[in-house]
C-alpha cells in the first residue's frame, strides 16, 4: 500500500463511525473512485485495484459492492478478479516476501530462495503462514534483472540474494516484531 493510500485509509476510518451506509468508511474511498470514473463498467479493474489498495484484499462483500455499483453480474466480477494474479482474496500476512522468478533470477538460483523460505516458514508459495506473520509470493520478473536474484521484502528491493541471506533478512523482519 502506498503512503498516500495509508494516509487516506487512516483519515477515512477516523471519521465518525457509520458515515458510510455500510458502516465501514473505507468504502468512501471506493465510492470516490467510482464517482470519478462515472460508474463506467470498463473501470472494473481500476476499481478493484483501488479497493484492494484500501482493504488490503478483496473479500466477497467488496466484490459484491463493486458489482452492484457498476451494475455488473457478480459472476462476471468474480471471473475478472480471479483472472488477474495481482488480486488476492485472503487477508495478507504481517510481512510479505516476494521472490522474483524471472529468467535472470531463475538462471541465478531463485528457486532455492523460494524453497528455502517456503520450508523454513512452512508456507506454500502464494499463501500466508498459519500464524499470519508471512506471505510468500513469487513475481514474474520485477525488471531488475541486473540485480538478480531479486527479493522484495516488505516493499524494499533486495539484490543479489541467496537462500541464506534472504532467510536471515526475513527472520529479522518477522522476528523483529517479537
Amino acid at each position: 500500500m502506498s503512503d498516500t493510500t495509508t494516509r487516506r485509509v487512516v483519515e477515512a476510518s477516523n471519521r465518525q463511525q457509520g458515515d458510510h451506509p455500510s458502516g465501514d468508511n473505507r468504502f468512501e474511498l471506493v465510492d470516490k473512485h467510482l464517482k470519478r470514473a462515472r460508474y463506467e463498467q470498463d473501470q472494473l479493474i481500476e476499481t478493484l485495484h483501488v479497493a484492494q489498495d484500501v482493504f488490503g484484499y478483496l473479500s466477497e462483500d467488496i466484490l459484491i459492492y463493486v458489482a452492484r455499483a457498476l451494475r455488473l453480474p457478480p459472476s462476471m466480477v468474480y471471473g475478472v478478479a480471479t483472472f488477474y494474479h495481482l488480486f488476492t482474496f485472503e487477508p495478507p500476512g504481517d510481512h510479505s516476501c516476494t521472490v522474483c522468478t524471472g529468467t535472470a533470477c531463475f538462471v541465478k538460483g531463485a528457486d532455492a530462495i523460494v524453497q528455502g523460505v517456503s520450508d523454513a516458514y512452512s508456507v506454500p508459495t502464494g499463501e500466508t503462514s498459519a500464524d499470519g506473520s508471512l506471505t510468500l509470493k513469487t513475481a514474474r520478473c520485477l525488471g531488475s534483472c541486473g540485480l538478480a536474484p531479486v527479493v522484495v521484502l516488505d516493499g524494499s528491493v533486495l539484490s543479489h540474494q541467496n537462500a541464506e541471506s534472504t532467510l536471515e533478512l526475513v527472520g529479522t523482519a518477522v522476528g523483529g516484531e517479537g
Partner: protein, 247 residues
C-alpha cells in the same frame, strides 16, 4: 429476413460446393452436408473459437484456421481430412479427456454426448497424456439441475446462452489456464443463486454430462442444443412481435 448473399465457389477436400459470402466455413460445410467436427460452436450464440476442434487448412501450408470463425471467400480451398488435421483433432480431444474426469460408463450423458461422439468420429480410442484427475466437487444444490465440473470442457456455451439469450449471466469462468473453472455468481452453490431463472437453457446446450437434470440416471440425460437455434432464429425474425410491426 436475411437477403440471400452472393454465392461463390469453395471446395472441401477437393470437392466443389457453393459458399455464400458472409457465412463461416463451418456454416457453409453444415449447409452442404460436409462434416467438420466442432464442440464449442453453437448456432444462435456468438462464436467463441476456443475448443480448436474445428481447425481446417485453408490453402496450402498456411496457418490453421478455426472453421467457426473464418469467413467464406471466393475459390477458397478448404482441407478437413488431412493426416495432420486428423492427428491434431485426436490430440486436442485427448487433451480434453485427460484434463477432466470423463468416465463415460458412469455418465448421465453416456450415448448422448457430443464429446463422446466426437471421440468416436475422430477415432480417438485411447489417451496418451497424463490424466490430471482434478478433485472437483459436484454442485447438486439446485432443485432442478446438477452441475458436475468434472465433465466440463469449458466450451462456455452455458455462459454465452445465459448471457446472450436469457440475459441473466449466472455463469462465468473464474481463474485462468488449467485452474479455469465454471462458476455461478460469486462461486456460490448454484441453488443459492439469485439471478438464475431456472430456464434450463444452460442444461439444454451442454455438450457433455456436465449440466444435467436432477435425478438423471446413467445415459438418461438428453440435451437439446438445437432449441437455442430455434430461439435465436425466432428472435432475429421477431416472430413473437405484433405482426403489424408495433415493437
Amino acid at each position: 429476413m436475411r437477403e440471400r448473399q452472393p454465392a461463390v465457389n469453395v471446395s472441401f477436400d477437393g470437392v466443389e460446393y457453393e459458399g455464400l459470402l458472409g457465412e463461416s466455413v463451418l456454416e457453409c460445410a453444415r449447409r452442404n452436408g460436409v462434416a467438420i467436427p466442432s464442440l464449442c460452436f453453437l448456432e444462435g450464440l456468438t462464436v467463441w473459437g476456443g475448443c480448436r476442434i474445428c481447425v481446417v487448412e485453408v490453402a496450402e501450408g498456411h496457418r490453421l484456421r478455426p472453421a467457426c470463425a473464418t469467413q467464406v471467400a471466393a475459390d477458397m480451398e478448404i482441407k478437413i481430412e488431412t493426416p495432420r488435421l486428423r492427428a491434431y483433432r485426436k490430440s486436442v480431444l485427448e487433451l480434453l479427456f485427460a484434463e477432466g474426469n470423463h468416465v463415460c460408463a458412469v455418465c448421465v450423458s453416456n450415448g448422448n454426448c457430443e464429446l463422446q461422439d466426437m471421440a468416436v468420429h475422430c477415432g480417438m480410442d485411447h489417451v496418451r497424456y497424463d490424466y490430471q484427475s482434478p478433485a472437483r466437487e459436484v454442485d447438486a444444490s439446485h432443485p432442478k439441475y446438477v452441475f458436475d465440473p468434472n465433465r466440463c470442457i469449458l466450451c462456455t456455451r452455458c455462459v454465452r446462452v445465459c448471457d446472450e439469450i436469457e440475459g441473466a449471466h449466472v455463469w462465468d469462468i473464474r481463474h485462468r489456464g488449467q485452474q479455469a473453472e465454471l462458476i455461478t455468481e460469486m462461486n456460490k452453490p448454484w441453488g443459492e443463486s439469485l439471478s438464475c431463472t431456472w430456464c434450463g437453457k444452460c442444461v439444454a446446450v451442454c455438450p457433455t454430462g456436465s449440466l444435467a437434470y436432477q435425478g438423471s440416471a446413467i445415459g438418461e440425460m438428453e440435451h437439446d442444443p438445437v432449441m437455442i437455434k430455434r430461439l435465436a432464429v425466432a428472435r432475429n425474425r421477431g416472430e413473437w412481435l405484433d405482426p403489424k410491426g408495433v415493437s
